[in-house]
Symmetry: C2
Subunit: 463 residues, 2 copies
């Protein structure tokens, strides 16, 4: 909270005081909570792991909401402050703010910084913690994929893993900032958008989002870094370590991820051309590429209102956001590797029907998958669907229309950001109850359902 206070000082546009006050409050609260326990140490058990992850995210996001509540411009309700804070830290990027361009620089910076810090948390969560906890088949990554150290095992201690990954994360942010700046953004906008690009967050400093810049070059830079940020960071580490790009092309998830982006871009381009929505083929391609990648990686940046695109394109892209980014990336959704495994299992079922006595194993690349991983992924899929249906019914019950409810829940559960219908631009039109449901949906999505769901199990508290 100190950087936005500093920003406020630089731009002299007010709003710095609330960040300072909130900082002092958090410092005091943090020390009070930490002080009595400062001497406790010990091994973490899985059960405590879940609790710590959930508490970490909720407490951090709740504290982060404080400066937003204290602000005078914009004057946010408690619900709205929490919504914006959770949306930032979970890198969802759904906003309740309107007229963003008029906000103080400190607030703008703060929102972008929330996303960037959220992205840092997600990387460590997804690469180091969830595989340890065995969430939704992610034990797959425990020691099996190319990891940050040479013997292809993850650095055992989380802190060490985190250091390596954050190095890549910061490096990418710097590269992205410089690219945006070089392409014509102000340094402030360049840093802010690099924050939300690498975090696949989708917050912007302008109401028109990336469309404000009207620059195909900036769009392309954004697409380039979104794709990089949508790839497993452990894979990036392996590539850096081996000093060869080969690891990318051996990774099945990476290949499918790229294929999805290509297919979506081509479908969007073909439909946009046949409906003659844009003047030139180049413009149509630019928009198709940008929106396809922005929505399907769950960034949620906009250049144009894809909600107004013809026929099935809006829903197609919303559906694509269910797939989302790769595991171990800052992207949301169910993750490419899980959908890939569901597909492989589906094909195996069909093959078993034709050859009932043959034994088929599911292979990812060259490795056969243990049944345990496949089972866990099925459980994940069903739980995802169940949480989706319940959240959507709750929104409908509070009076939201069908398409808004469907896409609002998809946008928050997939950590995407914008939806269709009433929430195509922002979430301000929704009521407080709906916003709280969506806050919970964001958290469910970001914590990969099970981390949060397990806390609802009576056995969790008994054990």
């Amino acid at each position: 909270m100190l950087p936005p206070a500093f920003i406020s000082l630089v731009y002299r546009d007010g709003g710095g005081v609330s960040f300072l006050m909130a900082f002092i409050f958090c410092l005091v609260a943090g020390i009070t909570a930490w002080y009595p326990q400062r001497n406790e140490k010990g091994d973490l058990r899985a059960r405590e792991g879940f609790l710590i992850v959930v508490l970490f995210w909720t407490v951090l996001a709740s504290f982060s909401a404080i400066p937003l509540m204290l602000l005078e411009t914009p004057n946010l309700s408690i619900t709205d402050a929490f919504f914006e804070s959770f949306s930032g830290l979970t890198t969802t990027g759904a906003t309740i703010l309107t007229q963003i361009d008029g906000l103080p620089h400190a607030v703008l910076w703060y929102r972008q910084q929330l996303q960037w810090l959220g992205g840092m948390g997600i990387i460590v969560l997804a690469v180091a913690i969830l595989p340890m906890l065995g969430i939704g088949g992610m034990q797959l990554y425990r020691a099996e994929t190319p990891g940050p150290v040479k013997d292809s095992k993850m650095t055992p201690r989380i802190a060490d893993t985190a250091k390596h990954l954050w190095f890549i994360y910061v490096g990418l942010t710097v590269a992205c900032t410089l690219s945006y700046w070089g392409a014509g953004m102000t340094m402030f906008d360049a840093i802010c958008h690099a924050f939300s690009t690498i975090a696949i967050g989708g917050f912007s400093t302008h109401d028109l989002s990336m469309g404000y810049f009207q620059s195909p070059l900036i769009n392309f830079i954004c697409v380039f870094f979104l794709i990089i940020a949508g790839v497993n960071f452990a894979l990036h580490f392996a590539v850096l370590n081996s000093k060869s790009l080969r690891a990318y092309f051996y990774d099945p998830e990476f290949k499918v991820f790229i294929l999805i982006q290509l297919v979506l871009t081509l479908i969007c381009f073909a439909v946009l051309m046949s409906y003659g929505i844009y003047q030139t083929g180049f413009e149509a391609f630019d928009q198709a590429l940008f929106q396809a990648v922005s929505i399907s990686t769950t960034a949620g940046f906009a250049t144009t209102s894809f909600a107004d695109w013809p026929t099935m394109l809006p829903i197609l892209l919303i559906f694509a956001s269910f797939i989302g980014g790769c595991a171990g990336s800052t992207g949301g959704g169910m993750k490419v590797v899980r959908v890939l495994l569901l597909y492989l299992q589906g094909v195996r079922e069909l093959n078993k029907l034709v050859h009932p006595k043959a034994i088929f194993t599911i292979k990812l690349g060259k490795k056969a998958l243990p049944n345990r991983v496949v089972e866990a992924i099925w459980g994940f899929f069903a739980a995802y669907a169940a949480v989706f249906v319940i959240c959507m019914l709750l929104l409908l019950a509070s009076g939201v229309d069908d398409i808004t409810a469907f896409t609002a829940v998809a946008a928050c559960l997939n950590n995407l950001g914008p939806g269709l219908g009433e929430v195509a631009a922002n979430f301000a039109p929704l009521g407080d109850f709906s916003k709280w449901v969506l806050i919970v949906a964001m958290l469910f999505g970001r914590l990969e359902i099970f981390t949060l769901l397990v806390l609802f199990l009576p056995a969790f508290w008994r054990a």
Copy 2:
């Protein structure tokens, strides 16, 4: 096709000739196809089983479309005739007809009879054939549930099983007819509606469907027989055989099925009361019970336009139709037992997270389930979702709006009948392309996805 020709003779309202002509055509075509193969016999292999089931349904429904094409009133296009015929035989009950009350009696009878015959086919398919083929976990029923013979194994030969089940099916139809007749329907209406009730089809002889009769007693009779028809017919057989109702209460699927009906009715009742939609509590309860059971068993009869009910009720009931009836019933959807197993597996996953080293087995009643069955059900679930998404995108691509596309596909894939939006009353507003997509969706739903999907596998044709 002879009964409707006869009906036409009785009511002297035209339309009989086309049924006679179509009958002669089918007779000739059938003999021509059968004659060269009349001496071939041999064991059925699984692969041939799939082909026969799919061919049986498509050929029968195509032939059944012929009289509808030949009719002068209504004058149907080829697409519409196929849609109506497939909708009838798959017991979907979606119609492209408007102003049903004015149609000749022969046509009305014919549509109801299609549903009834379709129901007969489904019972045999679901109780005897799919378990043998091992579709979507239904091998579970191969020799495990209480079956029609005393040693709790299914009568091995399909023809024998069919005879027993059809006896129950015809008996229920007679009982339902007499009840409707006693409650005030004409004998024609009573038979016609008994046909579509026991088949969980949903076709009616009136535009207002069951709402035409404005009788709570008829509504209640309909609910009663829908619930009976929504239960596994093998379970009915076991009860008849043991002359005790005990088998029902030992069956986990039955218990969950009843629970779902109760919960949905209560939710609908509570919301309808709180919004004051109906004059009296009795009327609200009558409507809540009728619509909840009618939609969630996938019958699709209407008394009132539930599409206009407040808040989440329409979508809640559409979601409930995804669960549908019990396996081995005439109901559609994914079937209660599958959803129950997905739920149990989800809970097992959560328990495994808390106790990573413990071994949990999934039990249905007192029986532990083999992993093979659970896997097959997961595959079914994913394939169901994939077919749903693809059909919905195809409808959207042809220009249908979001909510219509979503509910039209749900209504056809779940063999439900009515949707929301443009297809709340009938499917006439849709284009030909959409109708063909939905015809395929009905067939996918009725053949439990895999029976049809396996034909798309190259290995199927190579083997």
